[in-house]
């Protein structure tokens, strides 16, 4: 029998309350959130328990860590191991005084994450501009490496833009509750795939022959839909399988 299971985090800036509620439901079924690793909650199979979960975003200097954890422990909130020193997850018995009793102060904690995602965004923009200018000087032997760097920069650009929007809005005490159901992720993937097939019939010869910019853009869009739909479906699947999401 499986004793551990991985459920992906939906993105705290967008969907924190719902994620914490989901973890509570899992705990009632005996799947307890015990580690946070690689953007996902690792659940361990144990006795069903009525536990609640919460998180704190804060860079705690090592010399203050003891005091920090002691404050939370004494209030009934126990730390959950995580690799990242900026994220702290905690569990407590249901009925414990909430971790945050002031939502505005909690929102302020997103300032650091917003700052970081903006920096990554600016970095990827710079990288793409550099790639655009140098494309005619790349030796043929390095073509694939060049394409890979461009692809990574584009993905970074998209991810950091989404992360920045979400975290920035949180610092303004609002939240974009953005969450796609598993079914719509699959739908996006299939849609992109069908679009690609249609395009292949309309533009014979594939993307190499697509001289009109419009067709190139359409090809790019289909690629983005397929990529996004696939990744999002993989991320959402565990919640869907366990009946925790549509």
């Amino acid at each position: 029998m499986k004793i551990k299971k991985r459920v992906f985090c939906s993105g705290l800036a967008f969907y924190d309350k719902e994620d914490m509620e989901m973890l509570h439901k899992y705990a009632l079924e005996g799947w307890i959130f015990r580690e946070f690793k690689g953007l996902s909650y690792i659940l361990h199979k144990e006795e069903p328990q009525d536990l609640i979960f919460s998180y704190d975003l804060r860079k705690v200097p090592p010399e203050e860590m003891d005091e920090y954890l002691a404050t939370f422990e004494s209030a009934g909130w126990h730390p959950i191991p995580s690799k990242d020193p900026n994220y702290h997850f905690f569990w407590a018995k249901n009925g414990t005084v909430p971790l945050h009793t002031d939502e505005d102060l909690q929102s302020e904690q997103y300032r650091q994450a917003a700052n970081w995602s903006l920096k990554i965004f600016l970095f990827s923009v710079a990288l793409l501009i550099l790639a655009g200018f140098s494309q005619n000087y790349i030796p043929a032997s390095f073509k694939w490496g060049y394409l890979a760097v461009t692809f990574i920069a584009m993905s970074l650009l998209a991810c950091s833009a989404i992360a920045f929007i979400g975290t920035y809005v949180r610092t303004k005490k609002k939240r974009i509750s953005f969450d796609l159901s598993f079914k719509s992720c699959v739908f996006i993937f299939v849609g992109g795939f069908l679009g690609l097939i249609v395009l292949m019939f309309v533009v014979p010869g594939g993307i190499k022959e697509a001289t009109y910019p419009l067709f190139r853009i359409l090809y790019g869009l289909c690629g983005a839909f397929i990529g996004f739909g696939l990744v999002a479906s993989i991320f959402k699947y565990p919640q869907y399988r366990d009946g925790k999401a549509e």
Binding site: D56, E67, A70, S74, V97, T101, L105, Q106, L122
Partner: protein, 137 residues
């Protein structure tokens, strides 16, 4: 121009796009406007005697008969802010896990003003309410 300045500039430019809710004004500037949120008010009251984190939470719950509860994350944030604003100080010689805090002279001054302010607000409220009830009975 460094990345940090560019970052700050973008935050600055975005500022008008999402106006903060009105009621947040007094909250985000808690210490500058010298008006305390309820949580900050009770934390400062409890630090008239030196106390560590857990003792503060316990004392407040006891003092208010459980009416006001403060979560550990909120407490931790407020303690840091008050320390930075010079309202409280950390006492030397306490153990790593349990650091004691106490009000500074500035903090004591602020809490005196704040108690008087809240007293007057409650009195004003009572006066108006009594007049209203007198008219309606």
């Amino acid at each position: 121009m460094g990345v940090n300045q560019l970052n700050d500039l973008i935050f600055e430019l975005l500022q008008p796009t999402l106006p903060e809710r009105r009621s947040d004004m007094s909250k985000s500037n808690t210490f500058e406007t010298e008006q305390l949120t309820d949580a900050a008010y009770y934390i400062m009251l409890s630090l008239l005697t030196e106390r560590h984190g857990y003792a503060i939470m316990q004392y407040i719950e006891q003092l208010t008969d459980g009416e006001i509860k403060i979560g550990p994350a909120t407490l931790y944030t407020l303690l840091k802010k008050m320390k930075d604003a010079g309202l409280i100080e950390q006492l030397e010689g306490t153990t790593e896990r349990k650091k004691d805090y106490q009000l500074t002279a500035t903090g004591l001054d602020l809490i005196r003003k704040e108690v008087r302010r809240r007293e007057r607000m409650a009195r004003d409220g009572q006066k108006v309410l009594q007049a209203y009830e007198g008219r309606n009975t």
